[in-house]
């Protein structure tokens, strides 16, 4: 009995001590219990939003940013020269730090006239902040993963590989409020490009003061955007609050935003169900249908700019042959794979450039057509199937006529059940359509990618997100000295077309050039097999208003308000 008594006492003591040691006092606000009974259309007395991120951002340093979670935060806490917003469901290029801008005759020199924005500590945003930021990102010593976005700027290459000092980069501050950027060649989509994180301004004094720690904790960040970072508990939550010194603070309604880090999908689905968060993105039909039955949510669904595709190693013995590549591409029924592997939630895509990209006022896909569908129809008209293409290719390579004799491995970059479903589906399709028994290699991303970059694969599967609204973003990936998709393919005619289109300021001419390039890529060579474009399937509580509904908009939560919580 004594023993048990001591044990009980010890337990109580230990619990008490340990409880005080482990607790901190940042609590998330409870979902409102209806005290703010407001009329329809009237804003709630307390303006706050609870939402989530699937993973901790790696850093809030714009030069070092590499993942989308960091972007989600930075788009709310920093402001670039311009900001792509939405008005009435359409894109609207709003000003940012720059009040007005102009470019010279041949489009190589851009001048930005800054307005009166301030950092959260009251200091004005100056042209120098931009110059410092761009130089810092170009500096090889910084090791910035996204610096190649600065490639159009004069001398970027040389600065980035150390041949020239950063001062030689084509940016300069003419005065406190005037910024001049010089480009090597005219870039038609330049305004879209500068609305990305690597073009955000940075405060030299702060960066130098904080050194290595810049961007790693809330206290080592400084904002010039609609919100500032109040606290960041790694792997738990990030809390933002309104930045009163923001130039457009009047348009910002939210006082507080809480991003909870929720990695597991059941966690965030349950959180949305129980009212703990106000937004949720769904990747599963079951949950989608379940949420659709609620009457207190709005369904915000739009096509994004991320394309899912498989790609071929054109240096491989088998896939060097374009008929074989075409066979494997056309064997897939994109409607079917969307149903089975993507839960019917994506948009089957029959060309490389995603349906959300336009040139001027024309959607690229409308003008270029659904290439793969057309190719299939043409095949059928000749009474052929994809298997015939395969046999043709095999004959050309001298591989006989038995598809079962082929050794094909499909590499997938993940090991969870989503990838398994996909892998098993592909195995079955290729067996039925082509008579080929493929092997699936599931690897962790790191291993997969390392295999891809060393050319150690036959077919791979990936997704690619376009950053801005121009075909150059996705077509330039295949230029032979870039080869970002690591297929080992290169084509001089293609390179020439892309180079020319990059400089072409006339929308129609540019569109034509890009269409020709895509035709080489797909019709002639079928370097890659586009499958589907992702959709954002988001549910939002009906008391939330003014959130983004278009893929390329960078509004963040700037205009969001709640009414009727």
């Amino acid at each position: 009995m004594k023993f048990k008594k001591y044990l009980a006492l010890f337990t109580i003591l230990a619990l008490t001590v340990v409880m005080f040691a482990g607790c901190n006092d940042s609590a998330t606000p409870d979902p409102s219990n209806g005290d703010n009974g407001t009329d329809e259309g009237q804003m709630d007395a307390e303006q706050y939003i609870n939402t989530y991120l699937v993973s901790d951002p790696t850093t809030l340093d714009p030069s070092l940013r590499s993942d989308t979670y960091s972007s989600t935060i930075l788009v709310n806490t920093l402001e670039s020269l311009v900001r792509m917003e939405e008005r009435d469901g359409d894109y609207y290029q709003n000003r940012g730090d720059a009040e007005t801008w102009e470019y010279n005759e041949d489009g190589t020199v851009w001048t930005f006239y800054l307005g009166d924005n301030k950092w959260e500590d009251g200091e004005p945003v100056t042209a120098h902040d931009y110059v410092y930021s761009l130089r810092r990102s170009s500096n090889p010593a910084t090791g910035s993963p996204n610096s190649y976005f600065l490639t159009p700027i004069v001398n970027f290459e040389e600065v980035n590989n150390g041949t020239l000092p950063v001062e030689e980069l084509g940016v300069r501050a003419i005065d406190e409020k005037t910024l001049e950027i010089t480009l090597t060649n005219p870039v038609p989509a330049f305004l879209s490009m500068i609305d990305s994180t690597v073009y955000y301004p940075q405060r030299q004094d702060k960066v130098e003061e904080w050194g290595e720690r810049y961007g790693s904790e809330a206290q080592y960040t400084i904002s010039n955007g609609p919100f500032k970072v109040d606290s960041w508990t790694p792997n738990s939550s990030i809390i933002l609050s309104k930045n009163e010194n923001y130039w457009d603070a009047e348009s910002v309604s939210l006082e507080r935003v809480v991003y909870n880090i929720m990695t597991d999908e059941t966690t965030y689905y349950n959180a949305f169900e129980s009212g703990q968060i106000d937004f949720v993105g769904t990747g599963r039909t079951e949950w989608l249908e379940r949420f659709q039955q609620r009457d207190d949510v709005n369904f915000n669904s739009y096509t994004s700019a991320t394309i899912t595709y498989s790609f071929y190693n054109s240096r491989d013995d088998l896939f060097q042959n374009e008929n074989i590549r075409k066979a494997f591409t056309l064997a897939i029924d994109r409607e079917d794979i969307n149903e089975v592997a993507f839960s019917g939630l994506r948009v089957p895509t029959y060309g490389w450039v995603v349906p959300t990209i336009s040139v001027g006022n024309t959607t690229f896909r409308d003008a270029a057509g659904d290439t793969i569908l057309e190719m299939k129809a043409e095949l059928e008209a000749e009474g052929l199937t994809s298997k015939d293409l395969l046999l043709q290719g095999m004959e050309e390579l001298g591989l006989g006529d038995d598809p079962e004799s082929l050794n094909v491995t499909f590499s997938l970059a993940g090991t969870d059940d989503w990838f398994r479903t996909l892998g098993e589906y592909l195995q079955q399709v290729y067996r039925e359509e082509l008579g080929v028994n493929i092997e699936i290699d599931f690897s962790e991303w790191g291993i997969f990618y390392s295999n891809v970059t060393s050319g150690n694969y036959q077919i791979g599967f990936m997704g690619w997100g376009a950053y801005y609204n121009d075909p150059y973003d996705v077509l330039s990936l295949f230029v032979s000295d870039q080869d970002m998709i690591e297929t080992g393919w290169g084509n001089d005619e293609y390179d020439a077309l892309i180079r020319e289109a990059a400089k072409e300021m006339d929308d129609e001419a540019r569109l034509e050039l890009y269409i020709q390039a895509e035709n080489i890529l797909l019709r002639d060579e079928m370097v890659v097999s586009p499958l589907a474009t992702s959709r954002v399937n988001q549910f939002v509580k009906d008391y939330v208003h003014n959130y983004s509904t278009l893929g390329f908009s960078n509004m963040g939560l700037k205009y969001v308000y709640t009414s009727g919580r």
Partner: protein
């Protein structure tokens, strides 16, 4: 005794050194690097810049020596995937969180498990035995990610008693602990019951009973103490498990503990983080083992550990 402690500490340092070296070379043998998980399709130059910054372009052995030089000075380096975050700070921040959940689970599990084990052993093959064993096994027959899911669904979505995830006040503690304490209960209950049954059949217990000692004295003074050896053995592993945190529990309940970092840093190839957490666990385990060996000697004075 002092000599023994010093000798064990000496061994501890050696073991730690071997663990770090082994882990370093093993983890670098896995293809893939931290950059791969961060950004893709990067131009050569950008890659080169990144590698240079983290010293990843040096020959492997040089990297090893550089790491060890910092290591002996107590500098575990900076995370590669989360720039600016020091490994030591991350461990200091996350270990107590895991420790809290794990510690409470362990204490509760120990108390309840031992009690259940005693009841079961004394009532062998009668209904209290069966009930007790049923309770003990209940929570561990279901894989923990299933249990966590169910608990979340039941208590958070349906009943709304507790938040489904997050960290910050007492209510966040309940579900993670509720899911985690079944393991310790089951372990302790079963090992103790088995060990007690062993001891109870020993002759000296019979002697004690024959001498007329009260049942309580027989149980507590003689039986329990002599049955503790296996309990102490698994205690060591359990203490370490407290800090290992459960990756699954932490991930599903959004708890910022160290278990989550342990697994995710392996997935991200965050070299310094992997080494840092490994060192932490190794040190913890070595200390726990030392502690356990001492308790062996305390519990049963006839035991002598080591030369």
């Amino acid at each position: 005794m002092l000599k023994y402690i010093i000798k064990r500490l000496g061994y501890a340092v050696l073991t730690l050194f071997i663990v770090v070296t082994l882990t370093f070379f093993l983890m670098r043998s896995i293809p893939g690097d931290p950059l791969a998980s961060m950004a893709r399709g990067l131009p050569e130059q950008t890659r080169a810049n990144f590698y240079a910054k983290y010293g990843l372009d040096q020959p492997l052995f040089t990297q090893y020596t550089m790491y060890m030089q910092n290591f002996v000075r107590g500098d575990l380096g900076e995370s590669v995937v989360f720039p600016g975050r020091s490994v030591t700070d991350t461990i200091k921040r996350t270990a107590p969180v895991s420790g809290l959940i794990g510690g409470i689970s362990l204490i509760l599990g120990f108390a309840i498990g031992i009690s259940l084990g005693i009841i079961a052993a004394l009532n062998k093959n009668r209904w209290p035995d069966y009930i007790v064993m049923f309770i003990a096994i209940l929570g561990v027959t279901i894989p923990i990610f299933v249990l966590a899911s169910l608990a979340q669904y039941l208590f958070s979505v349906r009943l709304g008693w507790f938040p489904s995830s997050g960290w910050g006040d007492l209510r966040h503690l309940f579900l993670p602990v509720a899911v985690s304490f079944f393991g310790p209960i089951a372990s302790f209950a079963r090992y103790l019951k088995s060990s007690m049954l062993e001891t109870l059949s020993q002759d000296y217990i019979l002697t004690a009973k024959a001498k007329g000692l009260s049942k309580r004295a027989v149980i507590l003074k003689h039986t329990l103490r002599n049955s503790m050896i296996p309990i102490v053995t698994i205690l060591a592993a359990r203490i370490v498990a407290v800090f290992t945190g459960s990756f699954i529990v932490e991930r599903m309940f959004g708890v910022p503990g160290i278990g989550f970092y342990y697994i995710s840093s392996i997935n991200n190839n965050d070299y310094s983080m992997i080494l840092g957490t490994t060192v932490f666990y190794a040190a913890l385990f070595i200390v726990a083992q030392l502690f356990v060996d001492f308790i062996y000697m305390m519990v049963d004075p006839r035991i002598r550990v080591g030369s």
